[in-house]
Amino acid sequence: MTENEQVKLIRTACPAHCGIDCCGILAHVKGNRIVKLEPADFPDERDRRICLRGLVSLDITYHPDRIKYPMKRIGERGEGKFERISWEEAYGIIVTNFKEISEKYGWKSIGWVLGGPGAGTTKFGAYLRLASLTQSTRVSAWGYGDAGLPCGSRVIFGHQFPYLYLFGEFWQRKYPELLMIWGTNPAESMPLQNMRKVLDAKEYGTQVIVVDPRFTVTASKADEYIGLKPGTDSALALGIMNVIFQNNLHDKEFILEHTNGAYLVRIDSGKMLRGKDVDAKKPEAYMVWHESSNFHKALSRTSVKEASLTGTYMINGIECKPVIQVLMDLASEYTPEKTAEITGVNKDLIVKLGKRIATAETVRFLTHMGFTRTYHGDISLRGLISVAAITGNVTTSVNSGHVPGILNWSPFLKAIPGKPSFHRIGILNLYEAVISSNPYPIKALWFAFINFLNQCANANKIIEEFYPKLEFIVQTELFLTPSARYADLILPVCSFLEFSDFLAQPYPYVQLQQKVIEPLYESKSDANIVAELAEHLGFGEYFKGGEEGLIDLIMASRSFEGITRETLKTQARKLPTLPEGASFPLSFGTPSGKIELYAEQLYEDGEALPVYLPPIEAPITPGENKYPLTLVNGHSRFRTHSMFANVKSLLDLNPEPIVDINPIDAETRNISNNDIVTVFNDRARTTLKARISESVQPGILDITEGWWIEQFKEGSLNHLTHDIINPVQDKVYEPNMHMNDVAVEVEKK
């Protein structure tokens, strides 16, 4: 390579970070080698950014340990012994196995375990399309930590995500008077799209409150830090609501218009009072108590305006209360004293917080999935949203800015209109499907962009009971990860700089993850692997044009009118803006079409209200569990889940797994900084270095997630976690793994 050789600049985008940050990247290419990455321009220069992981992406692309060609297992599963084969041989093995297994158990028994594609769309879509065509099983990976949030959001908002309702305006740089950051640590997990705006908001004058069991970097930036015990968020929410109700500070107008707060609940059955219960004209109509006529009325746009929010009413001999009264009754149990006892938060602080939220002009709630990773984490989110709703701090329509993009998912979710598509199973339900054929047998699994063994709960169960039941395992990977070691066949995939994809992120942009160099070695993109496999299975016509064809297909949506693959090669494009004066209502997909502070369908489960239910395992009350400490797992800025754990340039700064221990817990166990300790419970023993830190309160241990199993001296983080299913989450959407709800003890090695 000569000094004069011309440097080509190619704009691409990093899809790694769960789709939120999605930094534009400008790659400098000399010949066929990328020599440098830097943050690419954005139409708004404030959005130009990169994170420390994005900066070292070349260390992934040019990593010496990359898997270079297809390999088939020659040793025992887990042993890591493989031999090189050709792509044609690999496809041959797959087709033979799929044929045999589908003849024996049906295509349903073949599952595609698709992990976090980041902001990637077609690499995910390609698998869905093939799963749809073959009517095999799509294993949804929401449940490996991310299902709690949609479970809660679906119940109360009727929507998968709560973001637009709670802080969409924040993404438009409209900063509130008060910002509640609850259950998320954007400083490490979403530093650019979220944290940078938190800092901007503070500069603008926003007061920032952080609610988190750990004193995180985000917490360090807060004006007030609320350090509660893990899994007690809904108790705190009820305590806050109690303060608001006691002081009569709730926003009655908003509650009447946008929530089911005025709807009458039958105290005998826990169901909503309906027209049929009182012989009204419309049998299914919800009923309200009409104040001026002092009589019940069917819900209508006019009747609700004068509906009562409080009181107890006998209607046709049925005792009824408006939802808000039922919620008040529950909240009244959560006095500041009791809330303080459960959550560990100072009682005066709870009172101040409740009053501040209720009296601030605007409050936005920046939240994500951290606090939803406890057994009742879905209710924690409902508690937070209930606080937002009773104070009128839920956004109900977008009145300016860019319309969120809608991808053309239908040809991926249903490849042939009118024909059945794939079956779907949650990743936590997959354990039972594989181990006990419940609800049906799964015999072959294809893992893509997922480090399953490393990142899913109860590793010993996976190794001892799960893997042995599988007849065939395929993994597409860049590295021989702890999971790839258990595959029968490993297919080499490209790093993000070696293939193209469409990224509808970060708001308000869309970007092209543009191929910068040709795939290294014999690697291919997931989309191209699927396209070639489809050809072998007789579905080639659905994947014409490979990854670029799929990009054009997913972009075929009105959202992206005027934006093409070609125009995205040089710059990110903004989504279309709302016309002047137009507004975009954010509807609620709940049964009532309103924010459901009360969900009657969960009455039998005892979860109609955002109740506080203690964690399933985390020993919140001392002495109630034989393992007295709660293990949580924060996210580290040095990794995106288990990605980057093997990158030397970052290991130089952060060389090995550590467990954070509060000085009080350390002292009673005679543990000092840098001691080697073992964290243990009935499931496993995990040995690693200790760090004494006040960032965790007494009773809590924190091991950041994502370290690979072999980086621990013994065990690993997910050897300690459990795979208990929350049946309500299973019913509502998909059960979540509860990695922040784990009981352990620690001892000096």
């Binding site: 943050p39 420390l52 400083a187 530093p191 760090r691 007494p698």
Partner: protein, 194 residues
């Protein structure tokens, strides 16, 4: 000798999230083995841990780099003239002239010059002089996640950095040394408690 410029930097601790992207960016840009920017956690030797008792805690980061001093002791200490104060204020270390005598390491009150054990030469931040000469900002400034780093000419009354200096409560490291660093820091803002 009058200097035409005094290029320097302001580090806003309020916006620093301690991510170390500056350290990583610097090492990539300068192809160095060591980190020339070190992000310290203030008040403790245990990195990334807060000071105080739960929940009354503080956690502040202090990215440290060559201070490009107005009166740089390292320049005076170097017997080979490998260290020079440029007219624009950058203190530059020319490795071609360095013999690895380590005099500058002893002279620097900030302990920020590093010694590369592989080639036995001293090395340090040159404020990305190679970029600055092309009209670009130092790479760490471009890559700062929190936008906590501000670069500019401290002599220019219209520059972004001069404007910040005039309104914020800034400090320099070890002012008693009389070096007059060109790297300034803004303290975190006081908390607005509930």
């Amino acid at each position: 000798m009058s200097k035409s410029k005094r290029l320097g930097m302001i580090v806003d601790q309020e916006r620093c999230i301690g991510c170390e992207a500056c350290s990583v960016a610097c090492r990539i840009e300068n192809n160095s083995k060591d980190f020339w920017i070190k992000v310290e956690t203030q008040g403790t030797s245990v990195k990334d841990t807060p000071v105080g008792k739960f929940p009354d805690l503080t956690l502040n980061f202090l990215p440290r780099l060559c201070n490009h001093c107005e009166n740089p002791p390292c320049v005076d200490s170097c017997p080979e003239d490998a260290l020079q104060k440029r007219n624009d204020g950058i203190v530059i270390l020319d490795q071609d002239l360095c013999t690895g005598c380590k005099a500058c390491l002893d002279a620097c009150p900030y302990n920020i010059i590093v010694f590369d054990e592989n080639n036995h030469l001293a090395e340090k931040c040159n404020l990305c002089a190679h970029r600055v000469d092309k009209g670009l900002e130092p790479f760490c400034v471009l890559c700062c996640e929190g936008q906590a780093l501000h670069f500019g000419d401290l002599y220019d009354p219209e520059s972004n950095v001069t404007k910040i200096l005039s309104k914020d409560n800034v400090f320099q490291l070890k002012p008693d040394e009389g070096t007059n660093p060109s790297i300034y820091y803004i303290r975190p803002k006081p908390k607005r408690r509930l």
